[in-house]
Symmetry: C2
Subunit: 529 residues, 2 copies
Amino acid sequence: MLTDYLQRREKLITEDRALRIDRIRANYTPSELKADEVVRSIRAREAITVWGINHDHVPHQYPGMEFLNAKDIILWTDLYSKIVSKMPKGGLLHVHQNASVEARTLLDLALSHPAIHIRVPGLLDAASLETVLPIIQPIPVEQYPAADVIGITDVLYTGGWVPIMKARELFDHALGGPAGFDKWVLSAFMINPSDAYDKYNTPMKIWLKFGSTFGVTDPIIRFVPIQKEYLRRFILSSIDDGISYIEVRTSFFKKYILAEDAKTKLELRELLLIFREVTNEIKAELKAKGREDDFAGMKIIYNTLRIISPEELESELEQCSRFKQEFPDLIAGKSCGFDLVGHEDGAECKPLIDYAEPLLRFTSQHPDIPFIFHAGETLGDGTAADMNLYDAILLGTKRIGHGFSLVKHPKLMQICREKKIAIEVCPISNEVLRLTSSMPMHPLPIIMNQGIPVVLSSDDPAMFNSMGLSFDFFQVLVASEVTGLLTLGQMARDSITYSMLDERSKCAAMDAWERRWAIFVEEVAAMDP
Amino acid sequence: MLTDYLQRREKLITEDRALRIDRIRANYTPSELKADEVVRSIRAREAITVWGINHDHVPHQYPGMEFLNAKDIILWTDLYSKIVSKMPKGGLLHVHQNASVEARTLLDLALSHPAIHIRVPGLLDAASLETVLPIIQPIPVEQYPAADVIGITDVLYTGGWVPIMKARELFDHALGGPAGFDKWVLSAFMINPSDAYDKYNTPMKIWLKFGSTFGVTDPIIRFVPIQKEYLRRFILSSIDDGISYIEVRTSFFKKYILAEDAKTKLELRELLLIFREVTNEIKAELKAKGREDDFAGMKIIYNTLRIISPEELESELEQCSRFKQEFPDLIAGKSCGFDLVGHEDGAECKPLIDYAEPLLRFTSQHPDIPFIFHAGETLGDGTAADMNLYDAILLGTKRIGHGFSLVKHPKLMQICREKKIAIEVCPISNEVLRLTSSMPMHPLPIIMNQGIPVVLSSDDPAMFNSMGLSFDFFQVLVASEVTGLLTLGQMARDSITYSMLDERSKCAAMDAWERRWAIFVEEVAAMDP
């Protein structure tokens, strides 16, 4: 009786998991199977040795817990340091350009450029340090203050510009001196644990903090000399993390970037020239080192904010189309796409349906520029943000950014499965922005078990202190007993499959990835778990 | 172009929601449709006037927020006080007998019986008050302490029994006196906000606190005079809340209850006699008042803990079968069922598969006693608790208790839909026990949109301070824009449809419910939203 039961049980489990990507592929190599076992052993061991013990300053630890509290623990796990951080990740398909470089690096870039100045709208003291945001931006040389300018914490300070390096040097020692300055500025660049898990601990409130970080960092980045270096650091650090291709969402909402003189407003075409220049430089450097496999390139997903009017959208779409003609390699091979972004649950953001008319017209005129919409980044059920999923799909989106609420929609899941509309799942973003409290609560397994393609993405890693894809991969790996290394491998493959690369580039990128994967798998298989 | 688009959009939404119970039924009366509109208006208004403003002592308020923080706000909403609390709820199909009466009421019952005594294992002072648990139970008269016994906070107290009423009177005024005593004892009876949302804020840790509450209250309840009154209060308060039928999970893990002399151990058959007596009394009282429609009766789901050995399970199953023969009305009708309960994620709990052999044998010998298993009450993906769902279904469970992780399993969802295996969804329980952080994060909409029958249940309302079904219904109603009053009505209908009532009783219960529903709907439809 039991034998028969166990057979029926095995059959049921197999049927239940039949749509999973890690089940569809059957021809795993012995090394792959061995490597998967090694990873499962390490995970099981560290569930006890790392996550089963108490850590100072961490209130409740478990695998897949809140990332901002977990990060320091994650860094010293074998699973992270020996496995996930070394894995070739494939493509990073959902990341916002102006949130793509580590906060500390951006601060160092700002500190290294003489044009960057800071001012503070109010009195800075121990009490106001938590609420007063710095204003940091380049200013033209003729506006530079006198050499004997006082610091921003000086009692005589009245709100004018101070060179950022000087402001840091002169920062009141009672407030921590230069280290206190760094801490204060970085806390304005990023979401801190106390922001996410205490002060702004709801999906609505955390966007107040999240939005404010862009307000502080954007003026630094949108300055040609820094923009160039920022982009370079982004691509190089991504490559270091095993990412071999990038589709970066780039905002064209603001109409210019600042030239090196910090006063000439350059049109956004210049930004695309910078993208092309930096990407080509890095590709050439890698080629010179025989590392062509490490990077297949970067493309842009043109986006603007979903607060604009439908009429303004028309001109955005036209500009996107013009750029696409001039930069077919950037706004992309087969092509890159168009997106509308912003806080979908926010009162100021319009639902996609409001833009249906211009979008429908555009798509009939420009079938070569795909839509790759953010949609369903919400806990709402039947709210405007949730309903965006219907429109994203009806408007022909090629992938869906977030699609967090997709799991509520059986028909839409069926369409995504059949039409191969991949979901750009951003685990840490969803958690820090409070759509899920932890990774075990995340709907990712539902999406995967429905046979819907998934590409893991980092979204705004600068704000979440989660650079690269390793942290997102890690959180996914520890939060499930079904998912293993081979699942992550399939997701990496899918990140190339569902990229906007043309077929030839896609094959080349996949071949390069497979070569790196084979080496990686051998290394893992040889490990002592 | 837009007209065509809007038509396609409407069609897609309809297809997507086609499996929902509130869509399957089409013949709503004009009053039902009007009442639904009224409820949606009130909900929309209170989303702003109640949930959109700050409340003292509530860190972050929003519809569907943490119940233990929200309760005081909920109580003064129109949606709760005028609508949901008045609604006829149908059957309560998942509730644990020993967690079914308000903590304050249980304390009053204890205070009113001279046999109930208390003792404290350690020194009770301001610091230890938070950690020291009271031991409260009946003792035989020959063990009563002398009349001049000192209080449990007295410096000379050495740990002996004190009459609970006396201990309360003598409770140190520095610790709050009698009110301080009540607060301390009640905090041991229940899960408090600080337990759930701070001290034990993980699905694993909260079970430490949850388990301890049963340890404190069980010895009070398992005493014939209190058991009788406890049961009576449970049924009457349920009827007050609009519940017209109950299937109560009753634990037979402990082998006796205490007789009135507080020393004779009565076998559990006596407990069933009490159930029959109290149920019949209440039915007679209602009949005398012409209120037969208000209560169709109560049945028992026999359960024991999933920590016993498979051999022990054999004898439990035999006892269940014997009771069923003697009390066909109680463990029965068409019959009531059998269940195994406990912390599925807990190390000491066995997975269902460990019991497969005796369960398979039993089901072939006793097809008249259905299994109604707890399964998938977990955040795990592929863990033992999650895998219990495969076994529950293969073993032929008629309903599933919790089924929280069911949404990860496409094949199992299909089986539940096709075989009409209803899910006993316990919204507040899941939230307080930290499987979900809030109602908007709960997977209920996924289950509903897959066309799987749902019965909302309260689980352990005494520990969650969520008596009745109104609070669970409320949380569900405010957390979705799709769900409305008619959805809740359909769920109430389903709670009768998927009960273990025999067909004739089921029809009678449904007819009675429909009569009450029609009156309720008229009242709501006539309200000024």
